[in-house]
């Protein structure tokens, strides 16, 4: 392992950016945590199915200081966007390139709800500092501490009380550049009491450039607030580690649809803490891995108070020699009586060499709850395959249709027609290669 080029950041250096000094306390606290935390190994239960050190061998965990794009690059990227973004979507569009906000590519003129940390007012700065790193216990979390330790900027979405935002936020992060880039994304969502908003995140690498993104999302859904959050992770060439923590207050709903393509390494950690009664979380995800890719989804539903409900459905498709992990945990705390929690993970292995490790977990400390969890791993139904073939559909096309059908339950739940259409088309063209890949 000595020849691995794994670079871990050194925070003792005085060269460190002091940008936005009001964030210094957050950075310092994270740096303090990193004195103890180390890169997880396979001995860490949560990471045991990934050979992390090997997978990250060519990545740099330290974010490079990002430079503004010149106008030529902006023009080039603008052309790319026309082909790679969801077309016809009426939204507040916020485009980041390698983690840096690019105003020229964004469309957010009349958007009073979101602001970059670097442009935040005094009051907003206070709001940010009060919320950052509070959604979760980050003392065990190496990668999000790394993100906080290098925090220079981020995006705040703050929906005012009782406000229903007129159109979705469309947050795009593109990885572009001949030289691999390491970027940090930071998103803070605060939905005030009674507010309502839709957020669509889209990660892509239209030129298949490589890089690494370390993302931290914190989402506070206050009383009676409703957030619909779609996450499209379509950057197959990018190593991505994402820590996503949601904190819900009473009568709030949080709905997530996650569509993920695996990459060399893609890891999502999602925790939803139901902290107010009658809160509801609905989490749906699908993932697809091929070649030698890895994808790892870890989710945890923390039922802390009584009368909350959560429903989680994940569907996985794994082809070639890809490796997928799903670990879904439902944790019912002693006070959380009358909880209703469901979790299901179904997987299809499309090749003899693909692997999936799935582990649904229930941890219940209350006695009056209804919980169910289940996981399955299977192959494409040969009867269905033959049925399609007997109607003149070639095997490859039949496999494509059946794969699409397998994730349809997730894709069809995407609430916006244009997003759904976009995802269907991307998946459809992606699965067209199933047969040729499988034949290898």
């Amino acid at each position: 392992m000595n020849n691995l080029k794994l670079v871990t950041p050194d925070f003792t250096s005085a060269q460190r950016s002091q940008k936005n000094p009001w964030l210094q306390d957050t950075r310092d606290a994270a740096r303090e945590r990193l004195r103890v935390l180390q890169l997880p190994t396979q001995k860490t239960e949560d990471w045991k199915y990934l050979k992390l050190e090997k997978l990250l061998a060519n990545d740099q965990l330290d974010a490079q200081s990002m430079q503004e794009l010149d106008s030529k690059s902006v023009e080039d990227i603008d052309e790319l966007l026309a082909q790679s973004l969801i077309s016809g979507l009426d939204a507040y569009r916020l485009v980041f390139v390698n983690g840096v906000f690019v105003s020229q590519l964004s469309q957010h003129d009349s958007n009073p709800y979101s602001v970059l940390f670097s442009a935040a007012s005094k009051a907003q700065q206070q709001l940010i500092v009060d919320h950052l790193d509070t959604s979760h216990n980050y003392y065990h979390d190496y990668f999000s501490s790394l993100n906080s330790a290098q925090l220079e900027d981020g995006l705040l979405i703050n929906i005012p009380k009782d406000c229903a935002v007129d159109k979705p936020f469309y947050i795009v992060n593109l990885t572009i550049g001949e030289q691999p880039k390491t970027s940090m994304m930071r998103l803070l969502i605060i939905a005030e009491t009674g507010s309502k908003a839709t957020i669509i995140e889209h990660e892509d690498a239209p030129l298949k450039h490589t890089g690494m993104v370390n993302t931290v999302i914190e989402c506070f859904v206050n009383d009676h607030a409703h957030i619909t959050h779609s996450r499209l992770q379509l950057d197959e060439s990018v190593t991505s580690i994402c820590s996503h923590r949601v904190r819900q207050s009473s009568h709030s709903t949080y709905q997530q649809h996650q569509i993920s393509l695996a990459s060399k390494l893609k890891r999502n950690d999602l925790t939803v803490a139901l902290r107010g009664e009658y809160a509801h979380a609905d989490i749906r995800g699908s993932f697809y891995g091929r070649h030698q890719q890895s994808i790892d989804n870890h989710t945890c539903m923390e039922h802390i108070v009584p009368n909350c409900t959560s429903n989680e459905v994940f569907r996985g498709l794994v082809d070639n020699q890809a490796n997928a992990v799903f670990n879904g945990r439902i944790h019912i705390h002693p006070d959380a009586q009358k909880t209703l929690a469901e979790l299901s993970n179904k997987n299809l292995l499309l090749s003899d060499f693909a692997t999936i490790n799935t582990k649904p977990e229930l941890e219940i400390y209350a006695d009056d709850v209804r919980c169910s969890h289940g996981a399955t791993v299977g192959q494409i139904d040969s009867e269905a395959l033959f049925y399609l073939q007997s109607r003149g559909v070639p095997k490859a096309e039949a496999k494509r249709l059946l794969s699409l059908a397998f994730i349809a339950e997730i894709v069809n739940q995407l609430t916006d027609d244009r997003v759904r259409e976009f995802v269907s088309q991307r998946s459809s063209s992606l699965f067209a290669t199933l047969q040729s890949e499988g034949a290898q």
């Binding site: 049925y387 399609l388 073939q389 070639p394 096309e397 699409l404 059908a405």
Partner: protein
Amino acid sequence: MLNIKNLKANVDGKEILKGLNIDVKPGEVHAIMGPNGSGKSTLSNVLAGRDKYEATAGTIMFEDKDLLALEPEDRAREGIFLAFQYPVEIPGVSNLEFLKTSLECLHAYQNKALLSAVEFLKLAREKCKLVDLHTDFLKRGVNEGFSGGEKKRNEIMQMLMLEPKLCLLDETDSGLDIDALNVVADGINTLRSPDRAFILITHYQRLLDYVQPDFVHVLSDGQIVKSGGSELALELEKKGYSWLESGTEQSANPVKV
């Protein structure tokens, strides 16, 4: 059109068809009857090209093509249609999507002009009506949650859409009530034409009251043991199959027309 000579076939290593001969010409309707385990479904599955069914000897020629050398999808594209005994449910693929893909695959192979979306939808609705299925079925998953009768009607609906040259119906009539049986029979009769042939595999005479066959064959222990006209079916209905098994009244040659 279809010429089967001395066909032997195994399922899981066990010989089920033991030298079967049959000759089907365009425009003809053949009924194949026989007791349970005689090899009726094996025959239809071998013809459609299902994996586990392995032909070990003999030939199947379909319009001068060696059928056994073709993949299932290519057999369909050549014009063979199998109405399944147990139609498969495919949640997540809508009937409409399924039919459209299928029709496009066939038309592309047969160098026919592809239908526009509007034309296709019109055609699909029309055929739905013919088999008495509500057009809402088109939006649902393939056979998903369909009753037994609805599944069989859906098979006929697909047959009407795809207009095959040779239609194989594998016990399509079993488990149907009178209304559904009428629908199935009407579907077949609608499609009857001088250049299209049918093979009806059935246990009972019932379907043959509605669709009169040109030939009736009795399959027993993997061979055709008797062939005749439609009156043979009536005789079987009266006497059962047992009288055939005692005698070795085997027709050595395929039926000549």
